[in-house]
Symmetry: D3
Subunit: 238 residues, 6 copies
């Protein structure tokens, strides 16, 4: 039924390539099938103005798509002179997701910026970004510990994200672009390693969804999150 | 337990005042307790560029807060020269919610803009906006029918929205500002009159939420949505 | 002769509703007939950079129109990304008018921002804004005195504003939108309670105006200003 | 009493140099003493969108100051990315003043843009701009007639502008920068050659002004306008 | 002498990886040592406004750096809301270089946009961009020919670019970041396969350079260009 | 052959008028034939943020064209809200050129801004700007010495700039607008008084240029630079 030949509860191949570029404290290329996002973590010895002198750090995110990461070219946001509402929504989401597993006081007065830049898009760029940013953030923390700037890792939980949806009447896991464009309902789910929800955003595109459809999607998401977390852990163990 | 003295499943008083201003095709002041939003619906004989010549209409929304609608003054977005990420997120959400109950082909090549301007804020401005915009949209459709520009109303469902959350460990309905600022989890739910979900956005602020907490919040939301819809219908019947 | 049935020297009903919203130090809905402007006064413990350390305060204003306050929707300035020349002109005018009756040294290092947001427009929004902002400013000063942050009120004069014009060849007072759009000459006058001019801006729209027409308009303005000041005082006495 | 040694009713030397630059249809350097403004008139075969197909033309103005035209450098507006409120006010004023003497229907579907760029500032740049723009506009009309694009000159009146004020308690004509900065009242007056008012903007800087002060200033302005118009006519006769 | 151990006339390893991403008509990862730039070519059936109806096409370029492509994070231009002067200079340069080898009339009314996005920076990003964009452009032309949209390839020459400089008193080829930052003179040279100059930009950073230093640099550039062109041709032959 | 009747190696008349305006520390009108640029030098007791506390000064430049300095009006950059890529390129070039002859440490913590505003354009505005800015900068330094703010002049070299090109197959010096628009190759050269290159930018517009063409152009440039420097010195000697 799925054009990719996947079963409804089957993820695309998920891969995390660490140290993808050489300058950042964390640099991970995350792939969910053909979706490829470069996630870098940058550590800076400063905090945003609203946190000055409060003895805590900050984790934030920025998101962008290369103009031709998509099937038809999208205008460069730097050239347009502003970020779209979609971009802002996504980067705010990534930032919240990662902050949900970091002890900002333990981090101390530092800012970590997670840049998620989409090299190639095929659906699920925001869920891939969150999942990849987690790995980059871990690498950045490790580098801070190695340099003696942190005693212990302030990350207290694991975070991953996946999309689920109702496609041609049936619940499916990890939608690719073709499915995403014609799904009746699209839902992005962010969970931690205790199986709890960090964020959950469901949107009925075609028609509204019923409670039992929601339940079915949550079940699929749970399965996907577990598989992504295993892939994250494998990558971090290398 | 709630500072307002409300029970956990109690809404604030909900009121819709139609014809609040005189120029718009629909003009509704919606109040959820101390939260007051002016929702106007403007009909224009044009469609956005991406819909030119496709024989269908469009429903969109814009959102703004008066600078001193809040406890401390927020900078005027017109003066800053750009809308914040939060503003864009909210206005995109309102637009999607209303489009979910309108037959855009039946509307024909017209655009209806729902302007939701917060006069006074006390939590839940986006859910009040959606609920009020529905009433303004109904009035705009009625005016189009009266002028002979539409034969029948292209709205095929009712839409309302409410927030729920986990506050001091317990699920509560319709959070005010004080509750919202310290809630552990905050969730905005948009439903139609068939009891189905149009959109659902839950965010763990303090700690992640469990599946049984989600279930409890969905139950509360359902109750709130029914009450808001009754108030919408009473207002429209006047 | 006037479509409203008013005599040439007749004001529209003028009304000031104090405490219109709950958060601001001063919050006044001013109505000149169908023109309705919400004027709020916000006190902040800071001054603009050019006044740092000079031991004096500042009074400034911002102006905006809700998109559908007018007969046809005007684009939201926050969405356009800039304020129009008209908006800037008006908010600079309101600021100057109010500063003309405040002892800024007696105010001390505080800034008071007068936000004038047009809820419904029917001509004369700038004159209504100035007249309403005066009442909001008085309430803000009273609140500062109550909190012990000021010993005495630094306002040393009363200020009000009204429009006059030449409409169908005759001088008229307080033009509504219909009159304003087709007036040959339009003049905004700001005066204090000593009958002196604070600002006076006259523009020939159709043809230039003669000295005797100017004199007739000034006479009408004087009458209007006195009535507005009485209404301001009645509202403040409540 | 005046630092320049002028009597209260004495203008600075006024000079109009036509054909100051070679590309524009009209190009005039206007000098009011040390204030020097380059006014160019550009004719284009297009009208702004709101006039498309209405069979009439448009006259508009833009104003700018070279960064070091003033005593201390002002930031370049092109670098800041926006025009100040003051700039917009002034260019709107210049445009209105010139349109007040042009028959836009007789002009036909053309736009004339008057660019007023301040080369050196010493007070009164807006009044010099208006007075110089009139001469540039005349030259542009003459060039259109010579090219056979117009049968007769659509300018039906002469326009000039001058400032007056109350300085050290006394009414004075044509304020220079030193006087302007410390004047109690500052008034810009635009008149036509029938002695009628096109625009009149008076602002109390220090304290409000009385009716008799207004009368005295109007008298001085009248004298100045006559002298400027003579200088305009002499320049145009050359 | 060079920290990399290279001889003065030695290029870094140059590599072109075609089909690096899947959506673009041409997609090439170019590497000059550690400098990695993704160059994509997008074909669109439109031309910029100034070419409408002139029967010719256009080739243009845009350039960007991922925020953490560099040693310390640079602010995202999309977030700042404008492209820097450096970015604009570089993308204008890339566009000119590629247009210099394309017959725009033979291309017909199409626009090809070359997006050069720096994934990792180590000096020479603009010269790598130009060299890589040439390969991407060739692939785009081939795809147009395959689709029958072009009869023959409108590219009539080969283009490549390299930097040369005076580093520690000696002329060197293909500067990396360390050399670039402390070079006394830095020169970017763009040549075609006839050994002629398309563009040449030399800047004295430390002290001015003499004619014989210029001659030595031109000689080195010539050698580098030949090697890059061989690598381009090898890649295109695969 | 040249429409101006000049021989290939003949400069247009070059003139520097010092003290052109009265406020700036240096103010020079430079003319290369019909190209007229006003160059002012402004001294400020501050440095840009990246130089704070480093004990050195800064020299920077800004460039602008009056809207009707050209044959057809160009839109005002202040009105468009941003500077074009061309403007940024030119002002960065002017700044680099002048910094190349100033000992920034000897200047001390001061910033000198060179504003180059084109009053009338006929080709070569950037080379005229650089040549004129040098004279304005000298005047600013002299004024600092007179005021006792500098002991000795921190300018250690002379700088001038000229354009050369290949026009109708032959190398020519100092292109005017007509030549510039149809030149096959256009090159801007900046040199110091030791005959060394500070910057050199050559662009093939029509077809690529050969090494012997480059040599011929450099020879012409050398001749032009010497003549401009003589004119600079004559002006400074007055």
């Amino acid at each position: 039924m799925r054009s990719s030949g996947r079963t409804p509860d089957q993820m695309r191949p998920v891969r995390f390539t660490r140290h993808y570029t050489c300058h950042a404290e964390g640099s991970v290329l995350v792939e969910f099938g053909n979706t490829k996002v470069l996630c870098t973590a940058t550590v800076e010895d400063r905090v945003p103005p609203f946190l000055k002198g409060k003895g805590q750090g900050w984790v934030t995110a920025e998101y962008g798509m290369l103009p031709r990461s998509t099937n038809t070219r999208v205008q460069r946001e730097a050239a347009k002179g502003k970020q779209s509402g979609r971009t802002m929504e996504i980067q705010r989401l990534i930032g919240r997701a990662l902050r949900a597993v970091v002890d900002l006081e333990a981090l101390g007065e530092k800012q970590i910026t997670l840049d998620c830049d989409v090299i190639q898009a095929d659906g699920g760029t925001r869920t891939a970004s969150i999942s990849g940013a987690y790995v980059a953030l871990q690498d950045a923390m490790t580098s801070l510990i190695k340099q003696g700037k942190l005693k212990k890792n302030p990350i207290y939980g694991q975070v991953a994200s996946v999309s689920v949806g109702i496609y041609q009447g049936a619940p499916v896991l990890d939608l690719d672009y073709v499915e995403d464009s014609s799904a009746e309902t699209d839902m992005n789910i962010i969970m931690n390693d205790a199986g709890q929800f960090i964020e959950l955003q469901g949107t009925a595109e075609g028609h509204a969804f019923r409670r039992e459809e929601l339940d079915a999607m949550l079940l699929l998401a749970n399965k996907g999150i577990i598989e992504i977390m295993e892939a994250q852990n494998r990558a971090l163990a290398e």
